[in-house]
Amino acid sequence: MKNNWPLWEVFIRSKQGLHHKHAGSLHAADAQMAIENARDVYTRRNEGISIWVVESDKITASKPEENPELFEPAADKIYRHPTFYDMPDEVKHM
């Protein structure tokens, strides 16, 4: 029989003050088991203090072929960066 445990993506917060970060994925029958398995698979050495799990097929991802439309427009907007603006050396605290 096929093992129909769904795939879950695991996100771990390594310490207070930091984002949850993608750690990897695993199979589990339900969300509770996914958290329990994630604890054993991804936090055996104090890597985390909080775990998020989400079923992999609930994630919508952008497509690499759409990258030009999505991300290229930002490339020529250098005026969004502080270094775009001329500042005399004597101006401090800015």
Binding site: M1, K2, N3, N4, W5, L7, G24, S25, L26, H27, A29, D30, M33, D40, V41, R44, R45, A61, K63, P64
Partner: protein, 319 residues
């Protein structure tokens, strides 16, 4: 097929520029297949690798040794899982990979088809087998496929204790009684050559190497890694006071490396083909564990479905 050619050219350009390939990116079908084969066989090796060590958990000579061995074996289960997940990003199902292992279609590292006869073997496995694996895995942290590379980084971080715990076992034996020293030498005699075989066939006989190097799946050839391993082991063996079982092992000033004898390739291919001392035993144990665990997997799913249904009913009632 101009399109395919230009896609392939673009792909190779990314590889040449050290840009990692991620799951949804276009990749040549053969790149995908090569990775599925390599990553899944790597995963299988981690999983089967638990068996020869599991053999010694209940007979570890102290609680310190036992907790370390348990932790190491648990890591190996974890490493198998990281790798299966990495393989799954390429569009294969976990069950299909496991079936390929159980039917013999997929291979795993031949080293695990050798028995662990004495406690010293657990030390030799840590020192030599994990040592050889680490050498390969450190190289693979720079592999071109993102998920594989990330799994390798995590694995390498965890694996260095494996080698140290093995070496410490051997170091303790080396300071022990004459019998313990003999046991140490015997384990090294049996594990040295199979460990060198772990790097795979010689470059001139390796059908996959050239393409794998071009795609930067591998960054060093089998023979380069094997040489690197021999070079680091010589001093480590000296500190243990053991003799590596190779009369031709000697420093070559000109090459800046140790020379060593030709591997017994007949033995290598024979074990790969399934005729090693423990091939059958390992597969039988894997299949038995998988089949006898089937009801647990089914029950967990049935329970999850029941809970989901109950939650749904409760929400409807409230509404």
């Amino acid at each position: 097929m101009a399109d395919l050619n230009s896609l392939e050219a673009k792909f190779q350009e990314k590889i040449d520029n050290e840009i990692k390939i991620e799951p949804k990116d276009w990749m040549p079908e053969k790149y995908r297949q090569t990775l599925i084969r390599q990553i899944s066989q790597h995963a299988h090796s981690e999983v089967v690798g638990m068996l020869p060590e599991g053999n010694w958990i209940t007979r570890a000579p102290s609680l310190r040794r036992k907790v370390a061995l348990l932790a190491k074996i648990q890591d190996e289960a974890g490493h198998g899982l990281y790798l299966y997940s990495a393989a799954e990003t390429l569009g294969v199902e976990r069950d299909d990979l496991i079936e390929q292992l159980h039917t013999g279609k997929a291979k795993y590292s031949s080293i695990f088809n050798y028995p662990t006869l004495t406690w010293a073997d657990i030390g030799a496995v840590g020192w030599l087998v994990d040592g050889a694996a680490i050498m390969n895995q450190v190289m693979l942290t720079r592999t071109s496929y993102g998920p594989y590379s990330r799994a390798m980084v995590r694995i390498c971080k965890e694996e260095s204790f494996h080698q140290r715990q093995g070496y410490e076992i051997l170091l303790t034996l080396s300071r022990g009684s004459e019998d313990q020293k003999r046991m140490l030498q015997d384990a090294v005699n049996r594990f040295w050559w199979p460990s060198l075989m772990m790097f795979g066939p010689s470059d001139k006989d390796s059908v996959h190497t050239a393409q794998a190097m071009k795609w930067k799946i591998k960054r060093k050839t089998n023979d380069e890694l094997r040489q690197q391993f021999v070079d680091v082991c010589v001093d480590q063996a000296r500190i243990l006071g053991v003799t590596l079982p190779d009369p031709n092992l000697k420093w070559n000033e000109e090459r800046g490396h140790y020379d060593f004898s030709e591997i017994d390739w007949d033995e290598f291919w024979n074990v790969v083909k399934g005729n090693g001392p423990c091939n059958k035993q390992r597969m039988d144990a894997r299949i038995k564990a998988h089949e006898e665990g089937a009801w647990v997997r089914e029950a967990a799913m049935a329970y999850a479905e029941k809970q989901a249904k109950r939650r749904k009913e409760e929400t409807t009632q409230v509404a």
